[in-house]
């Protein structure tokens, strides 16, 4: 498989507005810090993490909805962050986004035909009649009635609106779609419909997805590879099976153990690795490894002093931890759930 997009050293810092002394000591929210990954054509990369971990900002930087502070985004051999004018417009045709909230992402004053055809209008593709024809095609592709082009967004349910958002993203035949929490606002039965639709579209149109979500089960279902983020940094990247079966980073391990499994018998025997406290503020992130303040296996002073680099811990499996070790989290023989440690962790 050929590489479609490579993100290197992506960093985004948002300045924090402060009082009169802000010039003296400018403060930043470091939303994304030195994030690197690549996605192959036709592949789905899942980006997971808790709120505030920078996964959405990463997605937005990739499509240049937000301009990153530094780093590079190489798309088909060219740095997309340096593109201007005509080239940038071409790039925007190749990358599209599906937003989280299907209620806020559609203009209530546009008919859905206009919503879906708007990308075509902006890029000056086809006559008006052709655009409407294309919009109808697209609605059909995403499983909506093509005769509904004259209806307004409020006439549709959440799941249907998300389909409209998907149709709009498909309008320009993009190569890459950034899906920013596309199913988290939907009910489970509708969520499964949309996930299946995304799967089918990928097979039929050869799309590449960067799939951003906080729900680990959803990400597992849709992704080929998964990257886990914590406080602006990627802590682990691997093939989905590797990541879910043999996570190496203690954060990934505790994250996976925290998600309840919809199976009472499994749930009764599972051990949770409970993390203490909350995610620290990204304005003043912890030194060294950003996870060390909550990490059950942190060893001071090393973890507080040295930032761990992503290093290989297996076949195409990277983890950013000084002490990364494969702990199969469900098995009682694993060191992390041995009694003593479990007590220390759960307290």
């Amino acid at each position: 498989m050929s590489e479609l997009i490579r993100v290197e050293g992506l960093t985004k810092r948002f300045p924090v507005e402060q009082g009169v002394f802000s010039r003296l000591a400018p403060k930043y929210v470091s939303a994304v810090e030195d994030v690197s990954f690549s996605v192959n054509a036709g592949e789905t990369l899942g980006l997971v993490g808790e709120s505030g971990c920078g996964k959405s900002t990463t997605g937005r930087c990739v499509i240049r909805l937000t301009e990153p502070t530094s780093g590079s985004v190489v798309f088909e051999g060219r740095d997309a962050l340096k593109l201007k004018g005509r080239d940038l417009q071409a790039y925007r045709r190749d990358v599209q986004i599906i937003f989280q909230d299907p209620y806020a992402s559609l203009n209530p004053r546009f008919t859905i035909g206009e919503v879906v055809a708007e990308p075509l209008t902006i890029h000056g593709i086809g006559t008006h009649a052709e655009q409407i024809k294309r919009a109808k095609e697209l609605l059909e592709i995403v499983g909506l009635n093509p005769e509904h082009t004259n209806r307004y967004p409020h006439e549709f349910s959440g799941g249907q609106r998300q389909r409209i958002g998907i149709a709009r993203a498909l309008a320009l035949n993009p190569k890459l779609i950034v899906c920013d929490e596309p199913v988290s606002a939907l009910d489970v039965s509708i969520q499964a419909q949309v996930l299946n639709l995304l799967d089918e579209l990928q097979d039929e149109l050869g799309l590449t997805y960067i799939f951003i979500a906080h729900d680990l089960s959803v990400v597992q279902h849709i992704s080929d590879r998964v990257a886990v983020m914590y406080l602006g940094r990627i802590v682990e990247v691997a093939d989905w099976r590797q990541l879910y079966v043999a996570p190496n980073h203690p954060y990934t391990q505790s994250l996976l153990s925290a998600v309840p499994v919809p199976d009472p018998n499994v749930q009764r025997t599972r051990k949770r690795i409970l993390l203490e406290g909350d995610v620290p503020s990204p304005i003043d992130p912890p030194t060294g490894c950003r996870f060390h303040t909550r990490c059950p296996i942190a060893q001071l002073p090393k973890c507080a002093a040295e930032t761990p680099e992503l290093r290989s811990v297996g076949d195409e499996h990277l983890a950013a931890c000084h002490f990364a070790k494969p702990f199969p989290i469900d098995e009682s023989s694993s060191p992390l759930v041995d009694e003593e440690l479990a007590r220390a962790v759960i307290g």
Partner: protein, 340 residues
């Protein structure tokens, strides 16, 4: 058990709106024993929250109106008692935790004040005693430096911490029943794990019965002793946790189970979603409310509303075919076609 803590019998709560009658709760029955956890699951608009709010008499009437049924708490009817009497029960014997910890605390009062308010009202303690009790409660729910933090305002707490404050508040009068309405939906998974663990621990210690309203089947599998599945305001299935998960008898429950991806298995599970969308409550389909989306629907489903059928013991399902030989999830698996 001789003593039923709570009995809900054929409860009906309708809203009379301009567009018509919304049957938000239409014939829900269950009972709850001390120390038990009941999980109420369903999609948005299935009536799970309104059931709880009706019980607490927190639904504004009008437009809401109880059209039938009763709710007995320790044998006393909650729906007909005087407003003064229900106020003594609300927050005291039956407490509630709401979904959104960001909006359910009053932003202009200190945390200590908000917790001690209920204690002074229900337990007749002095302000000083109540504040001391508040500190104890905050320590109980794991808030560090509780002594200093009672002077803080809600905005000084994170989401998880605010939910802990809500729990402390709910527990302040040792309630017999704790109603938790999507208590962890707004929280991140690692924080959710903390809160669920805390609730389990407190239940063990205080023997409170919990009604856990959620759409997350994982949370239910983790916490519940028995499960009530709701659809379009109606009861679809009721049973113990194991019965509902391992021997589900209603096609809607199958659909739910087949719609959720699981992260703990090494093979990707195929998702078999339920086709179509949940019905509008103003215009509930005739007969079985689920029939337009049900792959097994027959003529009878369209015309006749199914009664709750007993499957085994207390396990019931509202489907004409529930419990029939051969009508099981495994034998009819994935018949739910992927259509829009």
């Amino acid at each position: 058990m001789a003593d039923k803590l709570l009995e809900v019998k054929d409860l009906k709560m309708y809203f009379h709106t301009r567009d018509g009658i919304v049957k938000a709760v239409d014939g829900v029955s269950y009972d709850l024993e001390p120390g038990q956890t009941l999980g109420v699951v369903g999609e948005s608009g299935s009536g799970k929250s309104v059931t709880a709010l009706t019980m607490m008499r927190l639904v504004p009437m009008p437009p809401g109106k109880v059209e039938g049924g009763e709710v007995l708490f320790r044998g006393k009817s909650l729906l007909t008692m005087k407003e003064d009497d229900i106020r003594k029960i609300r927050g005291n014997d039956i407490a509630m935790i709401f979904q959104d910890p960001m909006t359910s605390l009053n932003p202009v009062y200190r945390i200590g004040h908000q917790i001690s308010e209920a204690i002074m009202l229900h337990k007749g303690m002095s302000k000083k005693q109540a504040l001391n009790r508040s500190i104890e409660l905050l320590e109980l729910v794991g808030i560090p430096q509780a002594k200093n933090r009672i002077k803080d305002y809600p905005h000084q707490f994170s989401g998880g911490m605010r939910q802990r404050v809500m729990i402390a508040m709910a527990l302040s009068c040792d309630p017999a029943i704790l109603i938790a309405d999507e208590p962890t939906t707004a929280l991140d998974v690692t924080i959710q794990a903390q809160i669920l663990e805390l609730m389990e621990e407190l239940q063990e210690r205080t023997g409170t019965a919990i009604i856990m309203i959620t759409h997350d089947l994982g949370v239910v599998a983790d916490m519940a002793d028995s499960i009530l599945v709701m659809y379009a305001g109606r009861m679809v299935e009721f049973g113990t946790c194991d019965e509902v998960f391992y021997r589900p008898s209603h096609p809607y429950t199958w659909g739910l189970m087949d719609s959720i991806p699981r992260h703990d298995i090494e093979e990707k599970s195929a998702l078999c979603p339920i086709k179509g969308q949940p019905p509008s409550l103003v215009n509930v389909p005739s007969g079985c409310a689920f029939h337009p989306r049900c792959p097994h629907a027959k003529e009878i489903c369209r015309v006749q509303e199914p009664e709750l059928r007993s499957i085994e013991g207390k396990h019931t399902a509202a489907c004409h075919f529930a419990g029939d030989p051969g009508f099981t999830r495994t034998e009819m698996a994935c018949a739910m076609e992927v259509t829009a």
